[in-house]
Symmetry: C2
Subunit: 238 residues, 2 copies
Amino acid sequence: MHIKALFFDVFGTVVDWRGGIAREAERLLAPLGVQRDWLAFADAWRAEYQPAMEEVRAGCIPFSKLDDLHRRNLDRIRPRFGLSDLGEEVCDALNRAWHRLDLWPDGRDGLARLRERFLLAPVSNANIGLMARLSRHNGITWDAILGAEIAGDYKPKPRVYEAACAALDLEPGACMMVAAHSYDLAAAARCGLRTAHVARPQECGPPGGETQPAVPVDVAAADFVDLADKLAALAASR
Amino acid sequence: MHIKALFFDVFGTVVDWRGGIAREAERLLAPLGVQRDWLAFADAWRAEYQPAMEEVRAGCIPFSKLDDLHRRNLDRIRPRFGLSDLGEEVCDALNRAWHRLDLWPDGRDGLARLRERFLLAPVSNANIGLMARLSRHNGITWDAILGAEIAGDYKPKPRVYEAACAALDLEPGACMMVAAHSYDLAAAARCGLRTAHVARPQECGPPGGETQPAVPVDVAAADFVDLADKLAALAASR
């Protein structure tokens, strides 16, 4: 393997969306006297994610930024949580909760170590503005922000992985997709990319995220530090 | 002015293309026994830059990455410098000289200071892969790489400035274009962006780059450190 770039899924793989959304919702709405089960709220919001992107992937609606899909999804779940009366300004602020999710604990050290050896880029379904602000919030340095917005479509459509490789002028075999989700890695592998699975058992609350890949991968790691160790060992053994 | 993002022209404004191309050409070709006036070579290569992009801007050829235009331009000037016999591999390596240009001396400190207060992004005609490698070479941290490739056209076409603002979900008036070239700032201002001129008198060798803007700008600075001072003073005076 002569890997030059690592591409990262972000929601769930780099940052904890569930804990972050629950925390930010409480921070914004508790002062307004609103108390809810915020983890259930986060799960409900996230449950609208794939169906909304599927409308784009299927060509039913034109490409729309994830910020806009999130905002529409928020309106869809608000009645279920008795939040129909929130003002536009509060809803917009709540939508920016996705810009302030926190890294998993191994994120900072792991990404810094990986960046010593590789170009790093998010290949996420997040739009560029969302990703730039999320990265600032966490002090992450990328070499470029790639992903859905530059491709004009959503993962796991092949075009998203292909556009990322093309943007860095690399063959797919010189790029490795890093994700906590097997469906993402399977799609990347079909495009010729290398793949690394990172276990994020805390991602979804019970029953939890994937503890191991459900598809063949090049590397299966416990976290980003373990991934850095394993990629260093592979390079040393060449 | 409530500026949230600074957009940077890169060749000439952030990095010294003339000195860098001359140095890299000598580094690659002198060991092959080739001696030329490398500054004249850099000037000749750069002179093909605007005409090549104009073919794209005018719709004569489809959008092509700057790396590809540079490579074609190299082939155009090679006969003039008695370099027709260079192999493909040497030409490709020479083309990557554009990935290894150096920052002007104020670059590192100036950009670091500006990043404390603003989102920073190159809005250059360079393609994403070129810009990612050039930034790595110089240790520059951007919040995103914007510019020609995400717009599918070349500056000074309005679409490039508009696409940059849209990618960060900002109104043009919240964005400031920073450049050493008045034509770039004039085009950005027509799109509603704020503008800052940075003097780069060394850019082009004699007769030199612009020592002051030839068009009205919001800020005229001697370098990036001076720009950071002036933007801090403006913020303090609000």
